[in-house]
Symmetry: C2
Subunit: 483 residues, 2 copies
Amino acid sequence: MGAQGVTPQTEDFARWYTDIVRMADLADYAPVRGCMIIKPYGYELWENIKAGLDRRFKATGHKNAYFPLFIPMSFIQKEAEHVEGFAPELAVVTHGGGKELEEPLVVRPTSETIIGHAFSQWINSYRDLPLLINQWANVVRWELRPRLFLRTMEFLWQEGHTAHATAEEAQAETMRMLDIYTDFAVNDAAIPVIPGRKSDQEKFAGAEASYTIEAMMRNKWALQSGTSHFLGQNFARAFDIKYLDERNELQYAWTTSWGVSTRMIGGIIMAHGDDKGLRLPPRLAPIQVVIVPIWKKEDERSVVADAVARVRDELTAAGVRVHVDDRVGITPGFKFNDWEMRGVPLRMEIGPRDVAGGTVMIARRDIPGRDGKSSISQGELVAAVTRLLDDVQNSLLRQAREFRDANLHEASSYDELKEIVTDGWALIPHCGAPECEAKIKEDTKATSRCFPLELNKERDLTGLRCAVCGKPAQGYAYFARAY
Amino acid sequence: MGAQGVTPQTEDFARWYTDIVRMADLADYAPVRGCMIIKPYGYELWENIKAGLDRRFKATGHKNAYFPLFIPMSFIQKEAEHVEGFAPELAVVTHGGGKELEEPLVVRPTSETIIGHAFSQWINSYRDLPLLINQWANVVRWELRPRLFLRTMEFLWQEGHTAHATAEEAQAETMRMLDIYTDFAVNDAAIPVIPGRKSDQEKFAGAEASYTIEAMMRNKWALQSGTSHFLGQNFARAFDIKYLDERNELQYAWTTSWGVSTRMIGGIIMAHGDDKGLRLPPRLAPIQVVIVPIWKKEDERSVVADAVARVRDELTAAGVRVHVDDRVGITPGFKFNDWEMRGVPLRMEIGPRDVAGGTVMIARRDIPGRDGKSSISQGELVAAVTRLLDDVQNSLLRQAREFRDANLHEASSYDELKEIVTDGWALIPHCGAPECEAKIKEDTKATSRCFPLELNKERDLTGLRCAVCGKPAQGYAYFARAY
């Protein structure tokens, strides 16, 4: 049974998604086509995502900075593949201060070019390297078929940009950031992503190699949830990023870029949500525990309120994000549904009998009905809540991992692939050629997701041949329907 | 004596400012005219400003959200004064996705219009009020004479937007936010701002009344450092923000908006800086304590490094922001100058003799030479550093307050005002008419800063007459040269 008014996942997943985003009050479409308004509850989730990533970036020596929103059109044109990739998606400012501009300004779709220009001025010698910069910003990519969080004209993200003295160091940074994204996705967002390398067709416009974390949604589609790019010397050559090496010779630097966006919110919704609403991982949930006071007679009210305040204060002091739902004129049942919709990991009920017994009743969002309920003594409040939050976090990850593993299939033939991708991800030996990917897409609508790193390292790839064209394969690749 | 290469304040304050911003590595001009790049050290300062403000906003019940960068041109035109004020400063997107747009999009110069539209959809009944929203965002106002941080085409800020059931509640919110800005400026930024009301001429385009915190810079110019606007029902009428009151009657809401921007960084530089560089208030300083290891012979090096690491770890564990300057091939003297330039409140020197004696030498940025130095025992490290950081914080505020008070003068005639504003702020009885302000500006280049709230409350204003035109005065107002 779905919550009131929610389209069940099995009936229409796309409508389920929109229902949840709207009914959980995360976001809304804006009056400008393709743009969204991130509402307070959605933004708080984003703030927690930001904090989790930012902490990891800073711990690995990255510094935040801020670069301009506007990029001269001529900059975008300096790197050939880059302009080819982004030209169709640009928003262009042609007028400013009441006059037509001599050179149009592009609203940044990503900042490799303008940051490349800055790097060329900041970097002189090998002593200035590595240069490890991150930016939290909004970017704009023209978009005619928007979907809230997943694909909007403007979105929020972080974009890391680094420069290094050698290809090896830049490659190591590319992988370090992919590891950080994986760590964040798995441990904070409870999404068991698969890190892998993108095929040539799917890589970033201007990159030598792109890496991705791919997540499986509840409809078995894939969501690219973060990317890390090894840019080689492409942007260094286009923007003249040079340094004097230890022998006093001028060298081009090697650069990387990597990003995670508000799309991650869409991933969290679709990796964990059910027909009752969101299910948020406790590490990112804006509210970890909601307390619903239960009372019928007026004389019970203040006794319950006192106990609720004590519990709230004790949990808040312990660093738990608590909210008390003391709305009047609304039934507890309505409140329960409301907080289930919003995906709060733990719901606490405190009534007169709980107060008398020195207990509270806790219900887990991840386990429906009686099985998810337990009565705990107020004496062990903090310990019990901390343990239960960990349990919910682990349980969401375990459920998502079991779901993912049940829907990853190895195809032994192209025909089998066609069958699998109607309802799962197919692993096949793949040559990496755009032609084979185009054929698969035309036949099945599935796209190449990645060459999974771990699996390709574990297996013997000798003599492996592409399942489509029979030519030598680069390795095993996942194909799936994707956002 | 200024630091190497810094133009002294007394010689050319504008050049001093630019020198400091560049040499302290806070920001740089971008290749797009009027835009800036906020470098890591400047951005870290902004992150601390954000944290200080955001904490205060959340503590008073405000929620963060995010609204689109692009605003339909028709929205901007809905509030007559608003469009008149902002039209000359707009950046306009006319092309997107390779096509000319049917309706041009404005890059937000401020968000009253788009948020007003959202509020009209979010608010139904009095139960939805007050609605207390804040947004951290970039905004764009076309600017041909940019100055780093003070006036740039794109800048970062927060903009609060709230809706209320009554004029009284909206007015109270306007003042509450002005109080919060004052509290932040005084206690975190150590700037003794003067809160006051703007004259009609200087108020926000579309507001009923604007309030400001005005700060005095070291050249005695004023800097408007934050504003809080009572918008009356102007935007509610333009955007149809209505609610059903308790008697089930439709009413227009009352709204407010308030903002602080990266301009605050310019204020901190110019309120505290001297010819040696920045002087940052400890509560906002990215680095509160810099440790410079002092050693000559190789065998001293590791002994000193061990002591430095111990001190760093102890301070870090106590929540102090510490940096160890272990650059090699650079003299301690050079490092001292460098950290003075960057305004670090406390410099710690640790050499072999300090290690042997179990002490460290601490130099305060706010007190030059021997007087600012003290040797403290490592046993009382955290207590001493905490106390000294408080001392520097208080000392910067005291110095700024003494400087301000010494340069606020009451003018007993218009001639006296003309004299005063060449080198200070003049207080005069003022009618508030744009004509009188225009005359003063033409004669002296000074502008009306504000009707200071406290002073006007304390004084008897009966029969007070404007110092320029002789008509009844609204109260006493400060006039000064301003950024």
